[in-house]
């Protein structure tokens, strides 16, 4: 390439406190640092914000209450009744992903959700949890989920494997969706930033594009957190009510 661009350098994981336990590398990395910051921030917002418990909420209490109501409403409409015990899980997921995406937008910070292993860990736990909920609630009857109703026997031979495959592929699509969004968005920002550094006075055009992409990224950060949470809620509905 004519230009020396290294847009993927921002995703590099660097150990801050090297730590090896029995051949396993469990170093405290910059990704772990940002996950700690996210947890501290979310906890501070919700605990300190609502500590006063005022009848007329202040700014911080409003943010906490609005996010709570937003997710509670979403779980209520998408998971059906009987999903209330799982609301804290969905709410935690939403706040974690939202803060991870939003923190990543700050220049020189680290986007935790741009690591496939982070999003995949979240998604596989959603998948396993939802499957366990389904089997615990319906027993082996849950397997009927893979058998569409009112379909001729001959078609079932084709449809059942497709249903099983589309069920098992969920953690992959769920994690890759969030990961690809974050990776592509941040890489694009870095690429246009790299153009700006190399074209002198014409840099105003790449910078203008960067501003537009940044605006889109703010939208995407919130939207992907919403999509991640709403899909978890929809999967939960499948397990609780089967169709």
């Amino acid at each position: 390439m004519a230009l020396e661009l290294h847009p993927l350098e921002q995703f590099k994981i660097e150990p801050l406190i090297p730590l090896h336990i029995g051949g396993l590398d469990v170093s405290y990395t910059n990704a772990a640092l940002f996950m700690t910051i996210i947890v501290v921030l979310v906890t501070a917002l919700l605990v300190l914000g609502t500590k006063r418990g005022a009848l007329v909420p202040g700014r911080w209490q409003s943010i906490g209450e609005m996010s709570y109501e937003f997710v509670a409403d979403m779980v209520d409409t998408n998971s059906g009744h009987g999903a209330e015990p799982y609301f804290p899980f969905i709410f935690t997921l939403f706040m974690f992903v939202l803060f991870a995406n939003a923190l990543g937008l700050i220049p020189y910070s680290y986007t935790v959700t741009s690591q496939i292993i982070v999003t995949f860990a979240l998604a596989i736990f959603i998948f396993m949890g939802v499957t366990i909920v389904g089997f615990a609630k319906h027993g082996l009857h849950f397997l009927r989920f893979f058998v569409p109703e009112g379909v001729p026997l001959l078609l079932l031979v084709v449809l059942v494997p497709i249903e099983i495959l589309s069920y098992c592929i969920r953690p992959f699509t769920l994690s890759v969706r969030l990961f690809a969004n974050m990776l592509a968005g941040h890489t694009m920002l870095a690429i246009f930033g790299g153009f700006a550094a190399s074209v002198g006075l014409l840099a105003i055009f790449p910078v203008a594009i960067d501003v537009a992409i940044y605006a889109l990224e703010v939208l995407v950060a919130a939207l992907q957190a919403y999509v991640f949470a709403i899909l978890a809620a929809l999967y939960l509905r499948d397990a609780l009510h089967m169709h």
Binding site: R177, A180, A184, T187, V220, L223
Partner: protein, 75 residues
């Protein structure tokens, strides 16, 4: 063909995936506009679904774009 040009061609081909995302996003919002134009009262109910559809359609295109970036800058 040397490896560098093959990488460029591959990255360009991977970006074709964005055609589908463009069609999908346009479809989502055109449907939203015609739905709201016919029944403005339905806007609060259909808008969240439109944004959900936008995010899902956009993600499929970004799979291709992410692959293009990986081809260009990783391998």
């Amino acid at each position: 063909m040397d490896l560098a040009s093959a990488k460029m061609i591959g990255a360009g081909l991977a970006c074709i995936a964005l055609v589908g995302a463009g069609i999908g996003i346009g479809n989502v919002f055109s449907s939203l506009i015609s739905a709201v134009a016919r029944n403005p009262a339905a806007q609060p109910q259909v808008q969240p679904f439109a944004f959900l559809g936008f995010a899902l359609a956009e993600a499929t295109g970004l799979f291709g774009l992410a692959i293009a970036f990986l081809i260009l800058f990783v391998f």
